[in-house]
């Protein structure tokens, strides 16, 4: 829309016509206070804090409901305005319990801040305050009614933002209260957005309340470790006896693509980290089958020696490595490098939840682009094929809902279930579970399966009118179906795609080459070319065993050793424990998982919240992972891999490019082609980066990743500043066909489960328990 020019506090400003005054001012650095106004949610005009003086208007006007107009002259601070705001605060405080000393929000409360600013410091009222008891609405949501200032943010974010509509307003006047949907409790998605958005301490969280004062915490912004959407989260941590305890998760600073959004898992399910039963000492299995604590040296020595011996006697082919979808890119990269160069094996795999290789190959073949999660926030049209974003990709669902609500984006969805997002859909097509492939053929113009289906025809017709679209598809699509889908999508003048996988870094695991046939960046092991030079001649050149083949081999007694890093394949794949009887098993993990129980050596590992590095979400958005929590006695997977290599007698420098002395050789003596260190040093210099000083510095490996995987060669500074960077998907070096073995095993997680991590989250269990107890829904809702 055309720009209009207006004056605020004597400054001339311009903004697009229709912009709300409060927004236009904020953009110009003029802060107007507000309780009820919240960007993206419907307007209320209820709190009257944002009043300003607009010339020619008889009364003060609310900046939150006034669109800017040409020639408008506005004053935002004056004695009159300050008095109006002060009076409003006085009125609020009149009935407010003023229990700030024991209030969770004390210190980060908008009411406190406003009181501080406008100086309503004298209590004008002597009357008895209206009091009501506090209520618990769910395991994670508490409501302290007297503190509520009725800004309706919670009601709106729950309804408009989450499409859950579990909060309402009951009674009227001074008796008006926020109320939950089931009279005395909530039945909802437990996302905690209501708590997060509450400007005061009226809604508090079951996991955080009365635990700490905000200023006693350190705040670390990192990436959520649950689903593959990779929300940015700020973890509040504080000192504990055995390290740093995470006490809170939110994204109040609204940085990152998720803005202030987090789902139940992101917001509360960090409690696995502080469980009592975490493994905090290396354990060695005794002949009697019991585990006995050992020192690090004992355990690593034992594991290293065994591994080396097996490699040297039975060959790398007899060893398998299983990586994880919840470790950093650096760890995944290092793990495959360790497998390939130290153990000499391509027997490496991880729990695959989406067919990224086929996806990226198909994209490359058609010259198409991958969508960032950000694209869903402003796409004109969105097509979701398969998957249930509300359950499995809460952020994606949130982006789509907001885009539909605020920008009138059109959503099309096809699914074999009545997914909740269909409420936002312009077109929804219910199909048979086996027809996902046929649907693409139909959309592309082949009538067969959907012949005579009017709904399908209408769906296709509507889609054909779209010129600019983003297509997201779930694990229902693999291999050839993905190829067909991309080919169909290429018919839109403007299109981007997203392949939906399941865990925090499942994309990174795949990109970093935790695959038996593909090196980092999807370079086939059979044509390792550049990697041969980088990793040295030892690199095995035939595809290794995949996850299933490894366990089959173990069952046949052909897998002499297996190294599992932060994964529980025995449970995920239902492996018969007997199969691993004759395999030397090293497991590094947080808990005594099904797999760990079978191990000969268990190494206590840290989780994603306790380490640094990078992670890639399923849309190819790369983000920085920062260390927030800490637990005495555990080490990161990175640390453990490096140490294991060391205890095997391997030269660490060839695994991790670190240390002094390398920079000195600028290629003058041996030429840049003659050694890996030189190549690395030259690259670092060209990128104005320094060589890392420690073999345990993940950024030493990140340097190598950026150098060797072109898609990851993104501006470093931006990333370090905490911004997400979209991978250069057109540079992925994919050369693989779409005929690979399909080993995708969807996790089928819901909002309340999250693989291994979920199993160890007490909070998630208590929420699921509470849902079982609540009476069945009546037909009415």
């Amino acid at each position: 829309m055309a720009d209009v020019t207006f004056t605020v506090d004597g400054k001339q400003l311009t903004a697009p016509k229709g912009t709300l005054l409060i927004e236009a001012c904020r953009k110009a650095g003029i802060e107007i206070p507000a309780f009820c106004y919240y960007p993206g949610l419907s307007l209320q005009g209820a709190c009257r804090m944002c009043v300003v003086r607009v010339e020619k208007m008889p009364k003060l006007q609310t900046a939150c409901t006034t669109p800017v107009a040409d020639g408008m002259v506005v004053t935002t601070e004056s004695p009159e305005i300050a008095q109006a705001r002060k009076a409003t605060i006085e009125l609020l405080l009149g009935n407010h319990p003023l229990d700030c000393p024991v209030c969770d929000a004390g210190g980060e409360c908008e009411l406190q801040d406003m009181t501080f600013k406008y100086g309503a410091h004298q209590s004008q009222f002597v009357e008895i305050k209206n009091h009501r008891e506090e209520q618990q609405w769910s395991p994670v949501v508490y409501f302290d009614r007297p503190r509520c200032i009725l800004c309706y943010r919670c009601v709106r974010v729950c309804g408009e933002g989450m499409d859950v509509w579990a909060l309402g307003i009951q009674n009227r006047g001074s008796g008006a209260v926020i109320a939950p949907n089931k009279q005395d409790h909530l039945e909802c998605e437990e996302c905690g957005m209501c708590i997060d958005i509450c400007p005061v301490g009226a809604l508090t969280s079951g996991t955080y309340r009365y635990k700490t004062r905000p200023w006693e915490m350190s705040h670390v912004s990192t990436v959520c470790t649950h689903c593959a959407d990779g929300c940015k989260t700020t973890l509040g941590v504080r000192r504990a006896d055995d390290g740093m305890e995470i006490v809170r998760g939110d994204n109040r600073d609204k940085s990152g693509f998720n803005n202030d959004f987090l789902c139940i898992k992101g917001r509360y399910a960090f409690d696995f980290a502080s469980r009592e039963d975490r493994i905090t000492q290396p354990l060695l299995k005794q002949p009697d089958g019991q585990f006995k604590p050992a020192t690090w040296d004992e355990a690593l020595d034992f594991a290293g020696k065994q591994l080396r011996e097996i490699r040297d006697t039975r060959g790398g082919k007899s060893i398998g490595v299983i990586g994880s979808t919840r470790i950093t890119n650096e760890e995944a990269y290092l793990l495959q490098k360790f497998a390939r160069t130290v153990l000499g094996t391509n027997n490496i795999d991880h729990h695959r939840t989406a067919d990224y290789p086929s996806f990226l190959a198909a994209l490359k073949a058609k010259g198409q682009k991958e969508a960032s999660i950000r694209d869903f926030a402003d796409a004109k049209a969105i097509l979701v094929l398969g998957s249930d974003p509300t359950e499995q990709h809460p952020l994606l669902a949130w982006q789509i809902r907001n885009n539909v609500r605020n920008n009138q984006a059109r959503l099309y969805a096809a699914n074999h279930q009545d997914i909740k997002l269909r409420r936002q859909a312009t077109g929804f097509l219910k199909i048979q579970q086996e027809n996902y492939g046929a649907l693409i053929a139909f959309l592309a113009g082949n009538e067969k399966t959907f012949e005579g289906n009017a709904n399908a025809a209408g769906f296709r017709e509507a889609l054909r009118k779209e010129e600019s679209i983003v297509i997201a598809f779930g694990s229902e699509y693999r291999g050839r179906d993905i190829e067909a889908l991309i080919a169909f999508g290429a018919g839109f003048p403007n299109v981007k795609f997203a392949c939906l996988g399941d865990y925090a870094n499942s994309r990174g695991a795949s990109d970093m080459g935790l695959l038996p046939d593909l090196l980092p960046g999807y370079v086939p092991v059979t044509g390792a070319g550049s990697f041969m030079q980088e990793y040295g001649a030892a690199l095995p050149q035939t595809a290794g065993m995949d996850m299933v083949q490894m366990f089959d081999a173990a069952g046949r007694g052909e897998l002499a050793a297996l190294y599992v890093a932060s994964a529980d394949p025995v449970k995920r794949f239902g492996v018969d424990p007997a199969a691993l009887k004759n395999t030397f098993l090293i497991v590094q993990d947080m808990f005594l998982t099904e797999t760990a129980k079978l191990a000969d050596v268990i190494l206590p590992a840290a989780n994603l919240y306790e380490k640094a590095g990078t992670a890639t979400n399923t849309y190819g958005d790369l983000q920085l992972v920062k260390k927030a929590g800490d637990k005495a006695g555990v080490r990161s997977d990175f640390d453990l891999i490096v140490r294991l290599a060391g205890h095997m007698g391997h030269d660490i420098k060839s695994l991790v490019p670190f240390g002094k002395g390398l920079l000195a050789d600028f290629g003058q003596s041996r030429g840049t082609q003659s050694g890996e260190a030189d190549r690395h040093a030259v690259w670092l210099t060209a990128h104005q980066l320094e060589l890392k000083a420690s073999p345990f510095d993940p950024f030493a490996i990140f340097d190598e990743i950026q150098r060797l995987v072109p898609a990851y060669d993104l501006p470093r500074l931006d990333l370090m500043a905490g911004n997400d960077e979209h991978l250069k998907s057109d540079l992925v070096q994919i050369q693989t066909g779409a005929t690979r073995r399909d080993l995708v095993l969807p996790s089928n997680d819901t909002l309340f489960t999250s693989g291994t991590l979920g199993e160890y989250s007490q909070m998630l269990h208590s929420v699921m328990e509470s849902r079982k107890q609540s009476p069945a829904e009546t037909a009415a809702d």
Partner: protein
């Protein structure tokens, strides 16, 4: 509609509701009248009323409760057979509304928002009922009684008592 067999309302009222939802551009417009007429028949807005009305209109029970709790004529607890609503707002107050309320309270032995043990009468002090020029005024259920004195109020109460024992 589908609820026909399971409705908690009389056939007449159910039929009226079926028609009511068709009168407006949106079904939800029928909500306030529906709740009020349901209350007239059932006596108050029970959980079952909330559930059925929500279903008929196609909104959540929470939505219905939000609305119910807003309007002061709607109640979620039973009242007496004859609900005596005494206005004490300004015009009535000037002409003895407070005394009338006090009188009713004495006579019935109950206070504001209470019900006699026999369930016959309940008492409520209400806001202006639009009878200011004929103050003081009282509404018993929906019937207006105006220009009252304590003596004429007694007669009114007696009439209802007699009606009940018939």
């Amino acid at each position: 509609m589908a609820a026909e067999n399971t409705t908690i309302f009389s056939p007449q009222l159910a039929a009226r509701f079926d028609r009511l939802v068709t009168l407006y551009p949106v079904k939800r417009s029928a909500l306030v009248p529906m709740l009020l007429y349901a209350q007239d028949e059932i006596g108050y807005i029970s959980d079952a009323v909330v559930a059925e009305v929500a279903q008929r209109i196609g909104i959540t029970e929470l939505d219905v409760r939000n609305v119910v709790s807003y309007y002061s004529l709607m109640r979620t607890k039973p009242v007496g057979k004859y609900h005596v609503q005494v206005c004490t707002n300004i015009s009535c107050m000037l002409r003895g509304g407070n005394e009338l309320l006090h009188h009713c309270s004495q006579r019935l032995g109950i206070g504001h928002k209470q019900t006699t043990p026999d369930g016959l009468f309940s008492l409520e002090e209400v806001e202006c009922i639009g009878a200011c020029s004929w103050a003081p005024a009282v509404q018993v259920n929906y019937d207006y009684h105006e220009n009252l004195t304590p003596e004429s109020m007694d007669k009114v109460l007696d009439q209802y008592r007699a009606k009940a024992s018939k």
